[in-house]
Each structure stands twice: as structure tokens, then as C-alpha cells.
Amino acid sequence: MGMTYVQKVIAAACNRPTVAIGDVVEPEVHLAMSHENGALVMNQFSEIYKDTGLEARVWNPDRIAIILDHRVPAESSKTATNQKKLREFCGKQGIARFHDIRGDEGGICHQILPEYGYVRPGMVVVGTDSHTTSHGALGAFAFGIGATEMASVWTLGHILNVEVPGTIRVNVNGKLSPFVGPKDLILYLIGQLTAEGANFKVLEFHGDTIRSMSTSGRLVLCNMSVEAGATSGIVPPDTETQRYLREEAGVKDELQLMTPDVDAVYEKTLEINAARLDPQIACPHTVDNIKTVKEVANIKVDQIVIGSCTNGRLDDLAAAAQILKGKKIARGTRMLIFPASWRIYREALQRGYLSALAEAGAVICNPGCGPCLGVHQGALGDKEVALATTNRNFKGRMGNPNSEVYLCSPEVAAASALTGTISDPREGGR
């Protein structure tokens, strides 16, 4: 019986010719990522070593990456102290893939990992962040874990008790219409699957829409796969994956390009006609509460946010700048931009996107998670409505349980900034 993509990755990481769905295995970990919550991992890591008489050393410092992004620059003394502990820990353990609060190397973890070529096809990647699913865009089996699980990985170099997941195959064909993109596609899919429709499963993306999609777009799909409950979203690697890794991430070593077997067994196969998609929006307070933008048009918006690990890349900023250039954001609506990394920030600066956005009235924040998780910047007032290109709209997500968050593409966000109400970018937003 043939194997799905994820079965192949897991089998290789277990040094076995095959694995069956449901097998409980302990694959080798190729990359283990944490952000500020690495402070908790450190604590659990030292608990593991307690009373063993052994010195607490991570299994392989070259396979660990720590990126400070969730609260940068620190919003409180507590965070600053956690960040300081991590800085010292990385120094002591020899963890070179440490991305501090810096304008050259900083950014959101899920952007830094691909940008620096840390993720390759065929890797097993774990991260103490649920959106670690993002890295499936480069053909890795990448998934989120808790801090104690990570402490165990730091100790042993394997992830214990992984159940080989079943896979849902998603075939996407057809050309996306103008002003409709990867974000609309994944929102639509989450609406179809529901928030738990892919729980414990992998989403494997295929079809000509995916083949002609940039890595940036694939990152959007895999990033949000977890919002349907998926363990991981995966795009089997192809020429675009190679192009991205060689040209944008500077990877020189040989790449391992696997494909799923033609007789692989899938839990089910979904077919999506991309040409038929309209701009989509996730309404409060669940990500699977999907409507078309048309259905909720004209709702007044107080704050618009463009950024995050989902849609804070150069093509997202370019799309927003194109819509807003030479125009003004409606009075009564404020717009925050937070690019996903400092490399993106500098490039957007050079290309004039940031000045176009600021001249329209947007506030450009520093790269990082910013308003996305509601702890640091851009909190909402009572009864305010936000429209964001981020990935979660749970009650209280943006720091205030008495506010509402809608999720959309950068195009919808920018078009809505002009009117101050939720707007379809195909009408008037240009």
C-alpha cells in the first residue's frame, strides 16, 4: 500500500521503510523552534535533569532555533526577564540560531525559519507554537507542541509518541480571480471543514492552483491549516520550493524531494475550484464562521491590522500599498501595519510600500507578533470591531473580550480602510 507525504517523512525520520497510519512512533527531530515561551521550556528542561546528577545540555544546539517575537521590544519587566534568560541560555548552550530583538535578523518565528533556510523538505519540525504548521509550505512535517514536550525534545532529540496521522487530500484547480488569493482559499476551506474537521489529520495540498502559487501563498495555507484542527498542512515540494530555498533563503545543500505515492490512501479528497472563489471573511468569534465579504459588507471597522505570520510578507504589503497609494484611510478608522520580519520591513521600505501606507494614514509598527495576540500593541476598546489579516478571531484574542475580530486578506483589509467599513476590493477599493 502506498504512503502519503507525511508517512514518507515520518518513516525516513524513524529509519524505517514504511509506517502505517495510527502507528505510534518516535521520529528524530530536525528542527525545534521556540519563542518567548522558551522560558517555560527552560524551566521544564531543568526539571527533567533534576536529581539525575547530569549536567543539563540540549541534545543538539544546531537543531534548535529561538526567536524573540511575541512581545518585542518587551512590554513588561517580566517579559524582558524571560527574554534575558533565553539570551543567556542560548549563549551557554551554544544555540546559534537565536534571533534577538534586532533590525537585521529579527522577525516572527514562522517567517524567520523559512527566510533563513532553516526548514527543508522532508524535515520533522516541531515548535512551541500552534502555527508551526506553516513550515509544511516547504515540505516539512511541522507541527505545534507544548513546552514540556519541547523540553523532552531538547533532552532526547526525538519526539515521543507521535501517532502517524491520516491525511485529507485537498485538490485545488483553476485560476484565482483578481483580488482573491491564498487567504480566501484557506478561509473557504476552513469554513468547509469546520474548526475541528481536520483534528489529528494532515492536509496535503495539490492541484494546479497550488503548483503555480508562490511559497509566500503556500505559507498562508499551511499556517492556517491548524485552524481546521490539522496537525500539519503540507505542500509536497516542487520547483517553486527549490526556487524559494535557493534564491530567497540562500540554501546550497542538496534537497530531498519526496512525493506521495500514487496509490497512497487518503481519509478523503476535497476538490476546490479556485476560479469560483469570492473574497472570504471569518466572522466573530470562530475562524470557521466564514462568509463572503459581500454578505457582511458595510459593517463599520475601528481598527484594521495588516501583518502577522499569516499575511505580513512583501506581497501582502505590496497589495495593500497598491490599493492605498495616493489615497486616505477613512477618518474614524485606524490602520496598523506590522511586517513579518525586518528583512521584509527593509525591502518594503526600499520599494516605497511603507511610505505609501504611512502617507495614507497607516501606523507602521515594528516587525513581531504585535496586535495579533493581544498582549503587546494595538489592543481594542470595548465594543470595537477589528478587521485583521491575522489567523485567529477568538473572543478576547486581540486583548479585549468585549470586542470583535474579523479575518480577511490584505486586499480586503486595504479596501475596507478606504471606506471605514468592510468592503469588497473588487468594488471601489481600487
Binding site: 507544548g146 513546552a147 489529528f200 484542527g229 473580550p401
Partner: protein, 164 residues
């Protein structure tokens, strides 16, 4: 035997169980104060010690979806609550097993706040309603971590085995 002290709907996210703004607080011992922080009534009951150890939270499908934050499991463990859900989100379930938070998968569970609950082998017994509901057991490999007392002692055993 214990009482259902909180009943919640489907798709309860970790943002509700442990809001993101308290995430600078990381140590398992410090997190219980923020359990269901925005659910003020319930949070007050917890903090005023009006919820006895061994009480139950009853949830619908996909409990613990969203962020991988482990605080969402440690904050409930701190009050020694047991969560009975129709099913759990993957990361939350694994975190609970790792930290020793009692979780019970019970797809047909019917219970209301105030009901008396008893776990009897392979069933959840709702004493108040006089009904029993079947438990879906965890995979064996998960049970090994629970039997070891959580992932920390389990990993420690493995570490010592490797060094031996």
C-alpha cells in the same frame, strides 16, 4: 464523585481557558489564578476556593483548540479539575497528558452544572441524571506517560536509560 462546576460549549479555545495577556506568566505554579480569567464568575469561585478538588468541567467538541500554550492545561491542573469533553483538540490533549491534567474523552456525555459525576472504569456515570456514558480510551502509548506521572518523569527515565 464530584460536581460539574462548569459547562462549556464546543470549540473552547485556549484563549478562553488562559487569555494571551497572561502569557508572560509561565511557571505551572503561577498559572491557576488566571484559569478562565475572562469568565469572571467562575474565576472568582476558583480563587475563593469555592471549587473543591476533583470537580468536573464538561465540554463539547474540540476543547482546547487554538494556541499551543501549555498554561491552559497547567492552570486547570492547579485546581485538580477533571475535564470531560466530547473530544479534545490535539495539542491540548497532549499537553494535558504531559502535565497530568485529568481528561476524559466521552463523545455522548450529557451533564449540566451541579450534576454529580462519577468515573467508573470505562464509563462516566451521571449520578444526578441516572445515566452512563462510554469513555473512549487513550492510545496505549499515551497511557505510558500518564503511568510514569507525566512527561517530565517519563523523559527522565528515558534519559537515564540512554546514559546507562
Amino acid at each position: 464523585m464530584g460536581k460539574v462546576v462548569l459547562k462549556v460549549a464546543d470549540d473552547i479555545s485556549t484563549d478562553i481557558i488562559y487569555p494571551g495577556r497572561f502569557m508572560a506568566t509561565v511557571l505551572p505554579t503561577e498559572t491557576p489564578q488566571f484559569a478562565f480569567a475572562d469568565h469572571t464568575d467562575f474565576n472568582n469561585k476558583l480563587k475563593n476556593n469555592q471549587v473543591p478538588k476533583g470537580s468536573y468541567i464538561v465540554a463539547g467538541q474540540n476543547f482546547g483548540c487554538g494556541s499551543s500554550r501549555e498554561q491552559a492545561a497547567s492552570c486547570l491542573k492547579g485546581w485538580e479539575l477533571t475535564v470531560i469533553a466530547k473530544h479534545f483538540s490535539r495539542i491540548f490533549l497532549q499537553n494535558s497528558i504531559n502535565l497530568g491534567l485529568a481528561t476524559v474523552i466521552c463523545p455522548d456525555i450529557l451533564a449540566d452544572e451541579g450534576d454529580e459525576i462519577e468515573i467508573a472504569g470505562e464509563v462516566v456515570r451521571n449520578v444526578t441524571k441516572g445515566k452512563e456514558f462510554k469513555i473512549t480510551p487513550l492510545p496505549k502509548a499515551r497511557q505510558a506517560i500518564i503511568d510514569a506521572g507525566g512527561l517530565i518523569p517519563y523523559t527522565r527515565q528515558r534519559l537515564l536509560m540512554n546514559k546507562a
